[in-house]
Symmetry: C2
Subunit: 230 residues, 2 copies
Amino acid sequence: MTGAARKPSKRDQTVSDGLATAIHEHRLTPGMKLNEDEVGEIFGVSRTIVRSALQSLSHERLVVIEPNRGAFVAQPSIREAREVFEARALLEPRTAHSAAIRTTPADMDLLKRHIDEEHAAIDAGETGRALRLSGSFHIEIARIADQATIATFIGQLVARSSLVIAMYWRRRNALCESHAHHALLDALAAHEADRAEELMTSHLVDLVSLLELTEPPDGPTSLKEALRTE
Amino acid sequence: MTGAARKPSKRDQTVSDGLATAIHEHRLTPGMKLNEDEVGEIFGVSRTIVRSALQSLSHERLVVIEPNRGAFVAQPSIREAREVFEARALLEPRTAHSAAIRTTPADMDLLKRHIDEEHAAIDAGETGRALRLSGSFHIEIARIADQATIATFIGQLVARSSLVIAMYWRRRNALCESHAHHALLDALAAHEADRAEELMTSHLVDLVSLLELTEPPDGPTSLKEALRTE
DNA sequence: TCGCTGATGATTGTATACAATTATTGCCAG
DNA sequence: CTGGCAATAATTGTATACAATCATCAGCGA
């Protein structure tokens, strides 16, 4: 349930969802090459479908397509990383505000279950899954705010954040942010919109502070990529 | 120069730019069917390219792809229309703020020339072109703000606004908004960030006020569309 | 006349074949 | 042994062919 959007005829969606999930869970890491034949064989579809899915992901900036060279998992620059979180800082707090006003008991149940899953994933050591769920939490809030357009943007930003985290999050001391999510949950439950807004703001600030956006990113995945002059 | 983004191998871009421009200029109106063979023949490319371009436009919500039925110019609902301008209200004022701080003389020249072109188009009665240029003005400001990520979002919103205007702008008494753009220009030139922010806010409010978002939209383009039960 | 059903035609969905481009490897001159 | 170059292989870009789905309409029966 990443994003309820257009419908490029189902099979494209399967492939791009599969790839997107793998990226969210850091199983596909920045810079990796996505060979069309290979991907096609994995999902049991032809290159036509794969190309369609890759273009879709490229539009969301999860993948970069270099003409005649192929598709690669995106490697957001430090600047891009900053921009992504600046955009989130612009969109998410107000969205949390709106969400706090509209949160229904059903929404609360969903969010609670979400956090539980997140904890379970952390306890089970499935950091990849935990990370993806952590992002979904933000998307869920955007959905509750009932602003589909903004929710779409936030969805894209969360997805890109996953790449940023993969590249710039050096200190991997477990996702300590679950506390922040809990606090947000409380504010939403109490319909305290202003508090929710503030909590979201500081939560995002915290996230950025956990990144190391002053140094160049990790070395590339493969030697080839390392020695490319681009 | 609508958007400097990914590069799906040049030819897709040509087609999708062509279609997008036509939509911006209201030569393609909401609900129109975009037949793949037809479009392909017009641009001299195969359906492969056309489909790629259509998917791209569908991702930006300018086009809606209905599985097994084809691609149509999007018909934003009243709700979508509101959301688009709410999102703009969230993004553009702060962007104008940033832009005011960073505007260079070169930027000013560009914006001035832009406004001149806009006026020329209005005087020449080319309302379509005027409308497109009016949108580009906003995009230009986002570019000046030097936030590529947010600029991309604004670009999409401006594009969708064009559809909203096509559907909901009943009173077509010339684009009187050029005054607002002039005022913005002045604020940018003077680096008065706060004023630029306020001007942008009120400009967007004005724009929305010119729309009629209380009634259902215009009748469909063709009888077929009219009688569809969707 | 109205409504249903089945055949026909048009359009989209997918796979595959071929062309163009890029990457790799082996070879030879220096 | 090194560096450049040419041949080969691998991969992407595009067009086309075929399959699947949907729209249209004629024909039939009520």
